[in-house]
């Protein structure tokens, strides 16, 4: 470590300890758990050909959705005010795009074509504790914005976009301790997630419900 880096590290440590000294309730929650996002309607598209009059004639129709999928998530919640925490999140899931193809001009019945997508999201936001609750069970409202990175099945194409989420839930602390490690708890929440761009076949914002549960350690 160079002298400058060492000085910078010391300065940071001093600042951190100073901050902790000023706020005895300062704390950080490290959480990891599972989440489930509901399906999102990707819309319909019809393959058409042009007729001699200039109108269109359907060749076949499609209707697509991004399936609901379970995934994993980690979060770090840092207390920044009495009732407010800054939130950093990272999630992973593998939803499937299902496209139902029907009304083919030369073929009866329908076929569903699928493709699985690996989906990563990294972002941050804020969590606000509501006035109700007690020291162990605290309801909250939260909102996050995340960078969405979706990798198509063949790992050859990336779609990026934005995911934002608003919702609420509760944190329940099993017990509290003095010292650096303050205890374990569970967090449960429900939210609505909106997505722009990423895997999408039009410019609409896609909405889906999200539920999540995680175990957290409080420091």
């Amino acid at each position: 470590m160079t002298r400058a880096a060492a000085l910078a590290a010391c300065a940071f440590a001093v600042c951190a300890s100073t901050a902790r000294a000023q706020d005895p309730n300062s704390r950080v929650d490290f959480g990891a758990g599972i989440r489930w996002a509901g399906h999102a309607n990707l819309g319909s598209a019809t393959a058409t050909e042009t007729t001699g009059s200039g109108s269109t004639s359907p060749l076949f129709s499609t209707s697509s959705e991004l399936s609901g999928a379970a995934g994993f998530g980690v979060n770090i919640d840092v207390r920044v005010a009495r009732r407010v925490e800054a939130v950093a999140i990272a999630t992973f899931a593998k939803p499937t795009i299902h496209t139902t193809i029907s009304n083919d001009i030369e073929s009866s019945g329908s076929v569903t074509a699928s493709e699985t997508v690996k989906e990563y999201a990294f972002g941050g936001g804020a969590l606000v504790y509501l006035p109700r609750g007690n020291a162990r069970l605290r309801p909250f409202a939260a909102g996050t914005v995340a960078y969405l990175r979706q990798l198509h099945e063949s790992n050859t194409l990336v779609a990026t976009g934005t995911a934002f989420q608003f919702g609420g839930g509760v944190k329940y602390l099993f017990g509290s301790r003095r010292g650096r490690f303050k205890g374990l708890g569970v967090r449960a929440e429900a939210a609505v997630e909106g997505r722009r761009k990423g895997v999408a076949f039009d410019s609409r914002t896609l909405f889906s419900p999200v539920v999540a549960a995680s175990l957290f350690a409080r420091f």
Binding site: E49, G52, V111, E153
Partner: protein, 332 residues
């Protein structure tokens, strides 16, 4: 330099022995291998026969209509093809004079041929030296902006022929029905390069489609065409490779239809010029036009199979290929 004049467009078309991208290109054998026929120098100069007038279409009208058609091809942003009008000439289409000439010619014996394109080829390297287009004056023609009932739209037909002039073969993106009096009637198409024209009076063929744009861009790539990708694979029937199957890729976001054919005895195809993203893949027999509109008559095109809607979305990467997909069709 070995030079040979090929005959009219339908007869000259031969399939490339390797999968070609997006559509059929004209192939010529050079040194034992097949290369795509194309122009080496830009802009490609063309002339109009001074005798190009028929009832309702003066020479000036003819010049304006073909100029609009050339401009449509030249406006494709992902293609470098460019044309230049050289003026009127006393020559007729079909004369081997080194000048590419467009004009009317009377061919009553070709009672189903509206127009035809022929080539003068440098067989040492497969480049085009001359390409002539004749429009059959036996038929009634129109240059009216909104079209005219009972008359064929010159600009639409010129747009198709200039596709050939530039090196493109036929596309099979279209639906037809047999007519009681013989021949076929086009119900719909999604490529100017579909081999059968819309009925007289229609002006629907004045606009290039995604399949046409992919084709000319693959022959003369420019702009960000290299950021487009391809979808390749094989078509098999009972495990046996199938020649001449028509494979369509549909983009769920852009709604573009771009297609290709299986072009060798391994049943392989490659559809190029595709926007990145997942595609719906459909395979159909080549039964909406005569197979010899697309392939040499000696080729055995199998049309005895059912339409297949592939049960996977195939992802086309940016600037790359999907990786081979096997499409298994079943006999009717």
């Amino acid at each position: 330099m070995s030079i040979g004049r090929s005959v009219v467009i339908i007869a000259v078309l031969t399939a490339m022995p390797q999968p070609a991208d997006a559509y059929l290109k004209f192939g010529v054998r050079v040194g034992g291998r097949s290369v795509a026929l194309k122009w080496a120098q830009m802009p490609v100069r063309y002339f109009v026969s001074a005798n190009s007038a028929v009832p309702g279409v003066a020479v000036g009208d003819f010049e304006a209509a073909v100029a609009r058609a050339f401009a449509s091809w030249q406006a494709v942003p992902t293609s470098s093809i460019a044309y230049q009008y050289g003026g009127r000439t006393g020559a007729q289409p079909g004369e081997d004079d080194g000048s590419s000439t467009l004009g009317f010619a009377s061919h009553p014996e070709l009672d189903r041929v509206l127009a035809s394109t022929s080539f003068l080829i440098d067989r040492t390297n497969g480049t085009l030296i001359e390409s002539d287009i004749f429009f059959n004056s036996t038929f009634p023609w129109s240059v009216s902006q909104g079209g005219e009932t009972g008359k064929f739209d010159l600009e639409s037909i010129a747009l198709h022929e200039i596709g050939h002039f530039s090196g493109l073969g036929h596309s099979a993106l279209g639906e037809t029905e047999l007519r009681a009096e013989g021949g076929r009637r086009v119900l719909s198409s999604e490529a100017v390069m579909f081999p059968i024209a819309f009925a007289a009076g229609s002006i629907a063929g004045r606009t290039l489609k995604a399949d046409d744009i992919a084709g000319v861009s693959d022959l003369y790539p420019d702009g960000d065409f290299d950021r487009r990708g391809s979808l390749s694979g094989r078509v098999l029937k009972n495990g046996t490779p199938l020649f001449g199957a028509h494979v369509i890729a549909f983009d769920l976001a852009t709604r573009e239809l771009i297609a290709g054919f299986t072009l060798n005895q391994q049943g392989e195809f490659s559809i190029g010029g595709l926007s990145p993203g997942p595609k719906v893949v459909r395979v159909e027999p080549l039964d909406d036009a005569d197979p010899d509109s697309f392939f040499d008559a000696s080729q055995n095109v199998d049309v005895n199979f059912r339409v297949l809607l592939f049960d996977r979305l195939v992802v086309v990467p940016r600037g790359g290929d999907s990786g081979r997909v096997d499409l298994n069709v079943v006999a009717k």
